[in-house]
Symmetry: C2
Subunit: 199 residues, 2 copies
């Protein structure tokens, strides 16, 4: 395309700003758009506008939804006394796929990371604390990532929540199921040892 297609370059630049999309993938995506029938590219543009307009945060758990209340918060069969705190909507989806969990969620939309300028105010800590202050919550499960930011966030939140007399738990660390022990890293392995249970 050389310098001949600025519309293409502009589009590739926008794609390249997306998370996990490198320069080359962005270019390939832009080429793909030009190869689509006009109706298809128009439908994609419309889907972007729709998602941007319709999707908002649930007024309770902050998960993405098209309603005032997401289907999980609106579901009376779920246990609203147990809140599982996750960083991203994708994490919620992963837990839902287990079909084991019957409580509700709180989506932080990030984790505390002072180096990136993300403090408690940049994530949804306030609405979480409001839910806890409103009462009726018996347990908060910290399901943030097991990296530094996730750990920091879990620790920070547990300190805020405990004064309310609410039990705060953390997902177990250990060997991933079905994995080969010899490939587990030392930290995971020593955490798995610490957390061992009687059979």
């Amino acid at each position: 395309m050389a310098q001949g297609a600025t519309a293409l370059k502009k589009l590739a630049d926008r794609f390249a700003r997306m998370p996990g999309i490198g320069r080359k993938t962005a270019q390939r995506m832009a080429y793909y758009i030009t190869s689509l029938p006009k109706e298809e590219s128009a439908a994609l543009a419309q889907a972007i506008l729709d998602a941007s307009r319709k999707v908002r945060r649930c007024s309770v758990c902050c998960d993405l939804t098209e309603e005032e209340l997401c289907p999980i918060c609106a579901d009376e069969r779920r246990d609203h006394g147990v809140i599982c705190v996750v960083e991203q909507p994708q994490d919620l989806l992963a837990i839902e796929r287990t079909r084991d969990y019957r409580g509700v969620y709180h989506v932080l939309h990030g984790a505390i990371s002072p180096l990136d300028g993300i403090g408690p105010d940049q994530i949804t800590v306030k609405p979480l604390m409001a839910r806890i202050a409103a009462g009726g919550v018996t347990e908060v499960i910290m399901a943030t990532d097991s990296d530094t930011e996730g750990e920091t966030t879990a620790l920070y939140l547990s300190r805020l929540i405990k004064p309310f007399g609410v039990k705060v738990t953390r997902l177990a660390y250990g060997i991933p199921v079905g994995s080969d022990l010899q490939y587990a890293d030392e930290i995971t392995l020593s955490r798995a040892m610490e957390g061992r249970r009687e059979l």
Copy 2:
């Protein structure tokens, strides 16, 4: 997002159809869209419409452009007697980055691949042959990929072109510059040996 955001799911589905975009990346991209300010997502939708409307194929070399003729074909300082044949617009970009090549290009928009149902009619063989039949071409450089499809295409085209008395060449195979010899695969290594030059 559970089942609550169909606009989000629809968008992720469309992103997942793009080349090189897996299910999870598509989901992350869709979430990203919902996190953008409304003007930003509207600008992205507009960029898609623009690229789809404005970008077309150069009437000579089939590269993507916004004009009737791409800047390279329109450039009189380039050698229009030498045509470098590439599979994709990205390949052209890669060669242009070397700043060595002064000829022109022909973009096939694919490679012959019977298994994928791609024959000479699905790529831009006809306009290439029309350029050669029109005369004035002294050399055609095959710069198709060095995989089976690229090799097949180079061989097929060279058979079509040679009867016109035009020289057909192929990019050299060999050890990538700056790479470690021990990691080169055997085929590359034996091709490099075959193509050795006197120092």
